[in-house]
Amino acid sequence: MKKFMNRAETLVAESLAGFVAAHERLVVFGADSRFVRRRNLRPDKVALISGGGAGHEPMHVGFVGEGMLDAACTGHVFTSPTPDQIIAAIRETDRGEGCLLIVKNYDGDVMNFEMAAELAAEHRIATVIVRDDVNPSGSKRSQGRRGVAGTLVFEKLLGAAAEARWRLDDLSALGEDLNDRIRTVGVSLSGVTVPETERETFVLNEDEMEMGVGIHGEPGRARLKFATADEIVETMLKAILKDLEPKRSDKLLLFINGFGGTPVSELYLAYNSTRARLQSLGLTVARSLVGTYVTSLGMAGLSITVAGLEERELSLWDAPVNTAALRWGG
C-alpha cells in the first residue's frame, strides 16, 4: 500500500503540522506540539479534551474549535496518546471550570487517560467513556462496546453544551446518558496497512466483507459474503435496532461515516438505503450527517450510527460549530 509520507516515524507529526498550518485561524499547537488546541480558549467554560491514536483523521483534531473540543491529543497510528500529552492539554486548557475527558472505549485509551487524570489530580476532571458500538455478543464480562463513529456525536453534543456553559457534572451526566442512546455498526471491505508494519491487517477476497469492525483495521465479528447495499444496510440496521429499540415517536439522527477509502457517492447511496429502511419501519430521521469523519486510515467501508435524540439534544446538535471538519450555524 503506497502512502504519501516521508518516513513512517514522522508521518503523524508532519500531518499534524500540516493540519495546524492549514487551519491556523482555528487552532494552534499546545506546548511542545504535544496536542492541538483552539486558538482562542474561552473563559468560564469546562475544557473538553479528547484524543486517541492517529489514523482516524479528521477525528479528533478536526473537531477542535468553537462548539466542540478545546484540545485533542494524537498518539502514534492506532496507539493511544501517552499521559504526558493529556496532562499537558489539561494544564493548558483548564480555565478553572475543570476538564471533561472524552475517551473511546479501548483499553489503551482508557488506561492512558486514566493515568493522566491520576497524575493531574490537582485539576477537577471527569471522564466520559464512549461506548457506541453494538455488542451482539451481549456478554457482560467482555469489554462490551467500543467507541467508534458515534464519538463524533458525543463530541458535538457535549461541545455545544460546554459552550452553553454547562457545568462539569452536568456534562458528565449527559455523556453517561448518551451511551444508552447512540449505536454504531461498521462494515469493511478491506483491511488497512499500518505504516510502520507495512502489512495489511487482514485480507478479504473479492466477495467478502467484515461485519462489526471497529476503527483500527482489526477484523470484525464475522466475515460475510459481500452483498448489495440494501442487504448490507439491512444486516447492519437489524443489529442497531435490536440494541437501541427506538420508538416511533423518537427523533433519530442518522450518521453515515466513511472509513477513509469509500467514495462520497457510495456513502450517500448507503444513506439513501438506510433512511428508506428506517422510514419503512415507521421511524423518523430528524437529522443527518454523511461523510468521512472517523476513519481507519484508508480502509474501504462505512459505519451506520443511529442516535435517538430528545429536543434538548437536537438543539445541541443544531448549535453552531466551527471546526476544521464540522461547521455550521453561527
Partner: protein, 205 residues
C-alpha cells in the same frame, strides 16, 4: 568505574531492549491476528526510550530506577502496553523502595501484578500479559530457578492461544480470538526469558 548497581541496571535495559528489537516484527504479527498490529512497534518505541535514558537510570538505586523506567514506558509506549508495563515497574520499584528490613521480591511482584490487573480491569484467563505474570510470580514464590521461571513464562504464553480474549482489542473478536497467542503475553515471556538469561550470566548458579 561502573558500579555493580549500574552494571545490573544497564545490563537489564540492554537485554530487554535487544530481545524486543529482535522480536518486534513477530510481536506485531501476533497483534495483527487479533489486535491492530502494533504491539512490536509500541514495545520497541518504549524500550528505545528507556535505552536513550540509560545513563541517567543507571545512576539511580534499583527501586528508583525501576520506577523511572516504568514512567518512561508509560510516557513513550502509548496503547495498552504502556500503562500496563509501566504500572508493573513503577509498583515493583515503589514496593522495593518502601520495603523495610528484608526485601521480599515475591511480595513486591505480587503487589505490582495486582496493580496491573486493577489498571487493566483484567483477571487470569482473560488472555493478556497477566496470564504470563501470574505463573511467573508462582514460580518466584516457589523459588524455582531462573531457567524454570523462563520456561514457565514461555509455556504460559503459549497457553494463551487456547483462551478467549476478554480484555484488550482482541476481546472484540469474541471466539475468533481463540487459536492465537496473545501478543502482550508473548512480549512478557520474551522479556522474562531475557531477564533470566541475563541474571544467569551475571551470577551463574
Amino acid at each position: 568505574m561502573v558500579s555493580a548497581n549500574a552494571a545490573l541496571i544497564g545490563g537489564l535495559i540492554e537485554a530487554c531492549r535487544e530481545v524486543i528489537a529482535a522480536n518486534a516484527d513477530h510481536l506485531s504479527e501476533l497483534d495483527r491476528a487479533i489486535g491492530d498490529g502494533d504491539h512490536g512497534t509500541n514495545m520497541r518505541r518504549g524500550l528505545e526510550a528507556v535505552y536513550a535514558e540509560r545513563n541517567r537510570l543507571v545512576q539511580l538505586p534499583l527501586p528508583k530506577a525501576l520506577e523511572e523506567t516504568g514512567l518512561t514506558l508509560v510516557m513513550s509506549v502509548g496503547g495498552a502496553a504502556g500503562p500496563l508495563y509501566g504500572t508493573l515497574l513503577i509498583e515493583i520499584g515503589r514496593q522495593l523502595a518502601g520495603a523495610t528490613g528484608q526485601i521480599d521480591f515475591a511480595r513486591a511482584l505480587e503487589h505490582a501484578i495486582d496493580a496491573v490487573a486493577r489498571r487493566g480491569r483484567a483477571s487470569p484467563g482473560d488472555k493478556t500479559l497477566l496470564d504470563v505474570l501470574y505463573p511467573v510470580h508462582a514460580e518466584v514464590v516457589r523459588r524455582a530457578g531462573l531457567a524454570g521461571i523462563s520456561e514457565q513464562a514461555e509455556r504460559a504464553a503459549s497457553l494463551t492461544s487456547g483462551m478467549k480474549a476478554m480484555r484488550g482489542r482482541a476481546a472484540f473478536l469474541g471466539d475468533r480470538s481463540v487459536g492465537h497467542v496473545d501478543p502482550g503475553a508473548k512480549s512478557c515471556s520474551l522479556l522474562t526469558a531475557a531477564i533470566c538469561r541475563f541474571l544467569e550470566e551475571q551470577c551463574p548458579a
